[in-house]
């Protein structure tokens, strides 16, 4: 050392291309590729991210394009490579960590909570680490491959938590996450990976963290949600519109920081709120949203805030069991209808 470094881009022709109808997964690949291209300090680290292209193929072609210096396959060592990312970030790099499944993030709880999250507050040093993790159920993957992990981390000061619900947001929010000087937990709903498609080319403009979005306007009830809840809510709103119920869908997009204003403005308008997520209702992030709504918009409410989430069990494997635990469209529709008409 020092040695001759491999170039930042090895093969400019490899890597993801926008087809004009990018999936949620494609959008994430495009955003990653964009940031890798733009900033030589960005690198990707995780299990099977190189030759294999990642368990879900988010980084397919990246090894050819950027080489092993920037696409770093690791041993099975989540504590190790998360802490490694922290050390690299402290001295100026911008690591993007991939957890193969969000379930495995528990193995890195210590470096995330005790190293990454509190370092800036303790010392003033920036800690730009993005942690991507595919989470969630509906893939029949069972109790330790289906978890929603946002609430574990939402309690920890110093972390940002981003949970996009569309391909467009996934790209723009990931770009902002990578450019952010804080540790960001970027939670990708793996059920959406190949099920949602963009309706045109993906914009690679950053979307600011901390801004919720009213994705559909309505008068009767605010359906406040994030991640996979967004497309469910939009579909539901269309269905209920046929019955004359006007649902406003608010996509929270980033749990931390939380855009209280957009949520509260919506509820002040509709006077009713339902909070929807896939995670268990008990101590889920919906509890925070519901508390914020009652605190900021109590005198505008015509009905108690209602939370919809999973039952308080681990996520089962077998389809009838999993469907009984994770909120289903019919159940969500019934609840929203009830609140809107009460």
């Amino acid at each position: 050392m020092p040695t001759d470094l491999a170039p930042d881009i090895i093969n400019a022709d490899a890597g993801p291309k926008d087809t004009g109808q990018a999936t949620y997964l494609d959008a994430i690949s495009l955003a990653l590729d964009h940031e890798m291209q733009r900033d030589p300090d960005v690198f990707i680290i995780g299990e099977d991210v190189g030759q294999f292209g990642g368990a879900f193929k988010v980084t397919k072609g990246f090894l050819d394009r950027y080489g092993p210096r920037r696409i770093v396959d690791t041993p099975i060592a989540e504590t190790g490579f998360t802490g490694l990312a922290a050390g690299a970030a402290l001295v100026g790099l911008r690591p993007v960590v991939e957890f193969q499944f969000a379930d495995f993030i528990s193995c890195a709880f210590d470096p995330i909570v005790n190293v990454l999250a509190r370092h800036h507050w303790r010392t003033g040093d920036p800690m730009p680490v993005t942690m991507r993790a595919p989470f969630g159920g509906r893939l029949r993957a069972g109790p330790t491959h289906s978890q929603s992990v946002e609430s574990y981390f939402a309690h920890v000061p110093g972390l940002k938590i981003v949970m996009p619900g569309t391909p467009e947001d996934a790209a723009g929010l990931l770009i902002s996450s990578i450019r952010d000087n804080n540790p960001v937990l970027f939670l990708e709903n793996k059920y959406l990976y190949r099920r949602l498609r963009a309706s045109g080319p993906i914009s690679l403009e950053p979307i600011p963290l901390g801004k919720a979005k009213v994705v559909r306007e309505g008068r009767d009830v605010s359906l406040v949600t994030y991640s996979a809840g967004v497309h469910q809510a939009v579909e539901l709103a269309e269905e209920l519109a046929k019955d004359g119920i006007s649902v406003e869908v608010v996509d929270v997009r980033t749990l931390v920081p939380l855009d209280v204003e957009t949520i509260v403005d919506s509820v002040r308008k509709t006077s009713r709120a339902v909070v929807l997520h896939e995670a268990a209702t008990r101590m889920g992030y919906g509890a925070e949203i519901a508390a914020v709504i009652q605190q900021e918009a109590f005198w505008h409410l015509d009905h108690p805030v209602v939370r919809i989430g999973a039952k308080n069990t681990p996520t089962p494997t077998s389809p009838p069991l999993e469907d009984a635990v994770i909120p289903q469209p019919a159940e969500i529709a019934e609840t929203v209808r009830k609140v809107a008409r009460a």
Binding site: L5, F81, G83, A88, C107, D110, H119, H120, P128, K160
Partner: protein, 338 residues
């Protein structure tokens, strides 16, 4: 006591083991070992006198390890030390008053009183400020080394842990990553016989901690941690290897934790005979005697080094005591970086 001949009266030729060394470096190492001891002794008094907030973690009998290892690397290199390594911090420019301020929760501590006690590392000195979950500094140390390699920089990262730390996942995962990736790391295991009250025999079936290196396919060496030059040489060799791109090494430095885990701990679980045996192996005294015998310092110089260190510790206490406590009005600021 009457001695036949003072070793400094008629300086002999410098013994072979010191002859080919830089005498200035040797004297500097000695000064920092003495300073480390003086600051810690002063802080023990401060703990007993009620100056400090909580407990006090010291490194008596670790001075040869912290200074011996830190003196092998340059200012551009990185370090991830633990709470026994005051000497390593001082070597890189940390001021004694700032360490005291950290144990007092003062506004002038490196974290402005947000963190305290042993958490005073400064990134501008290339030192990672670790949390309490030791060896959580190990994975971070691999990342600092990774960044150096990523950028083709001639930098290494020296990380420290205790015997107890070797049982944790961070240790294993860091050694696994660093060895597989050939990272420019040196991992120093300070085997001081006890992790809080747990003796090494209850920590590991193999109590030669350097042997763990075999499992990672890297070099591992055990040295006498009370012999500062033995530590210095072993770490220097490992640093050279890391700089050459040949990957990480383990250096196990064997010593004794001569105080409790922290000052609140009387360490009554340690057999008395063990303390008595190790009392004869004070690394500061041992090195001082070697330098005196070699004529590299004389009695006057020793007295001056010791007096200067004592005065520095007294002055540091005075400043730390006078420093203000932090203002809580901005406590919610800085949770996030801009």
């Amino acid at each position: 006591m009457i001695v036949a001949a003072s070793p400094t009266a008629a300086p002999a030729a410098v013994p072979a083991d010191l002859a080919d060394r830089d005498p200035q470096l040797l004297r500097r190492i000695y000064e920092y070992m003495v300073l480390t001891r003086a600051v810690e002794d002063r802080m023990v008094a401060m703990y007993k006198g009620g100056d400090l907030l909580g407990s006090l973690y010291t490194g008596h009998w670790h001075e040869g390890i912290s200074v011996g290892a830190a003196s092998t690397i340059g200012p551009d290199d990185y370090m991830a030390p633990i709470h026994r390594d005051l000497g390593a911090h001082l070597w890189r420019g940390m001021e004694p008053w700032a360490v005291m301020a950290s144990f007092m929760g003062k506004a002038t501590s490196t974290t402005g009183g947000r963190d305290g006690t042993l958490h005073y590392g400064r990134l501008d000195l290339g030192i990672y400020n670790l949390p309490s979950h030791i060896p959580a500094n190990f994975p971070v140390a691999t990342g600092m080394a990774f960044a150096a390699k990523y950028r083709g920089q001639d930098r290494v990262c020296l990380a420290f842990c205790g015997d107890g730390s070797t049982s944790r996942a961070d240790f294993h995962e860091s050694l696994t990553l660093a060895s597989v990736m050939d990272l420019p790391n040196v991992f120093v295991i300070e085997n001081n016989q006890f992790a809080y009250s747990t003796p090494i025999a209850l920590q590991s079936k193999s109590t030669v901690f350097a042997d763990k290196a075999k499992g990672y396919g890297i070099p591992g060496v055990t040295v006498d941690g009370t012999d500062v030059l033995a530590v210095h040489d072993a770490v220097a060799q490992a640093v050279a290897r890391a700089r050459a791109g040949e990957g990480p090494s383990i250096v196990e430095a064997v010593t004794m934790r001569m105080h409790g885990h922290a000052e609140h701990d009387p360490a009554d679980y340690v057999p008395k005979a063990m303390f008595e045996e190790w009392a004869a192996k004070d690394p500061v005294e041992l090195f001082e005697k070697r330098l005196l015998a070699a004529g590299l310092v004389d009695d006057d110089a020793v007295k001056k080094v010791r007096d200067d260190a004592r005065q520095a510790a007294i002055a540091a206490r005075k400043k730390a005591l006078a420093d203000p406590m932090p203002d809580p009005s901005n406590i919610e600021e800085g949770v996030y970086a801009d």
